[in-house]
Symmetry: C2
Subunit: 220 residues, 2 copies
DNA sequence: TAGATTGTTAATCGATTAACAATC
DNA sequence: TAGATTGTTAATCGATTAACAATC
């Protein structure tokens, strides 16, 4: 018996591709700012030191198509990429853990441009509860689940230590959250229906410091 | 004529491996906390839903070796990983851009545990210059290059908008910086001797929102 | 039309996974 | 010793790159 895939299966996008798409957007914004209306994949590839074929393959995933000899309409391409990445429709989110990192994300304007509006923070510290950070209320943990449900919040942002992370994730998921942006240094156990994406702060810091160590060693 | 590699060539570590190593550390800390003294690769792999062989290959890069039948000494393994990632010797850094994100990193305690001590911030806003954030001075941009050189700073952290990023990177590099942790949404052009690692805030946010959109679509 | 660029198919490369011998 | 686990070599898989036909 051969396995028959459901006809509506969406082609999954390779993770490396997904990581590059936001970089294409950065580049496109810069190019558009210089007054260009169309752009070729070699143009984008040059700017980012990538292979033009790779850029073309990546763009194909978003469903947009260019015109031979001409290239891609920059405006259309930006819209297609932003739509694909989900940056075109703003989604409300709750943040758990109002420490330094959490406070930063509450105040980081650019997140809203990427379709993420953090509407409130939660913290277990009574001294923080009731205060306002960057215009957003800090609420007590015991309200996390009920408010998530009542406000139909779909995204949770975790900026707390590893210890409290799983517990917070559980409450959020019980409340109906479908996606978690996790900055806590721990792996979360969640149902298949929930997406977890790691903030990767420490991964990138590891790459940085390892790279520095190598660079210094090579110099001797 | 055959190419002869220099005998001291260091084997380069695949990027996926480098991304996983900090996750192993998280897991190891949790396992150690539970009182274990040794750990097997299948144990680590189970916790992180990875393949044991992959964990073994990754660990081999750090130079540590385990004992057949027994496994790895947790303590030794943690030290080996931290050393490999450069988290064991603290390096001083300058941060440029004292906005919300920059302020957060200035106050984020855990960075120091990963060997990064941000000692001062720089900003072009005269209103911020002279103030103190999380106990660290905010200094004017015009001192960036000279202070970097005088204090032998090797790491720069960029938390400013795309526009100012290249300029700041240039000043840091002129001052002697060898590694840049870049949170600005732009590609930096730097000499080969300088390591740039992207903070990837927007890449991960893109993966999150794209993942959410897919999850919601699959549900209908 | 000729040339440039897209989009696709094939070849290559590198990372993951499987198989297994070495070893405590 | 027997069994479990490491560490390495081989097979597989997937992503990148190269080649090239289609097209404006």
């Amino acid at each position: 018996m051969t396995e028959s895939k459901p006809s509506h299966t969406i082609k999954t996008v390779p993770e490396p591709t997904l990581r590059r798409l936001p970089r294409y957007l950065n580049t496109l914004h810069a190019i558009r700012f210089r007054g260009r209306l169309v752009v070729s994949t070699s143009h984008i590839a040059d700017e980012l030191k990538l292979d033009p074929t790779q850029v073309r393959k990546d763009l194909a995933y978003t469903g947009i198509s260019g015109r031979p000899k001409v290239g891609y309409d920059i405006e259309e391409l930006i819209v297609a990429l932003e739509t694909f990445l989900g940056w075109r429709n703003t989604e409300e989110a709750f943040l758990v853990g109002a420490g330094a990192l959490g406070t930063a994300l509450l105040g980081h304007q650019r997140l809203e441009e990427c379709g993420l509006r953090i509407v409130a923070a939660f913290d277990r510290d009574p001294a923080k509860v009731g205060t306002t950070l960057h215009g957003k209320e800090v609420l007590p943990m015991k309200k996390l689940k009920s408010l998530t449900a009542r406000m139909h919040i779909l995204i949770g942002v975790l900026t707390l230590p590893a210890e409290g992370a799983q517990e917070a994730a559980d409450r959020l998921i019980e409340g109906g959250v479908k996606a978690i942006w996790n900055f806590a240094p721990t792996r979360l156990i969640v149902p298949d229906s929930v997406v977890v994406v790691d903030g990767e702060l420490y991964s990138t810091l590891g790459m940085l410091k390892h790279g520095l160590a190598r660079a210094l060693k090579n110099e001797e």
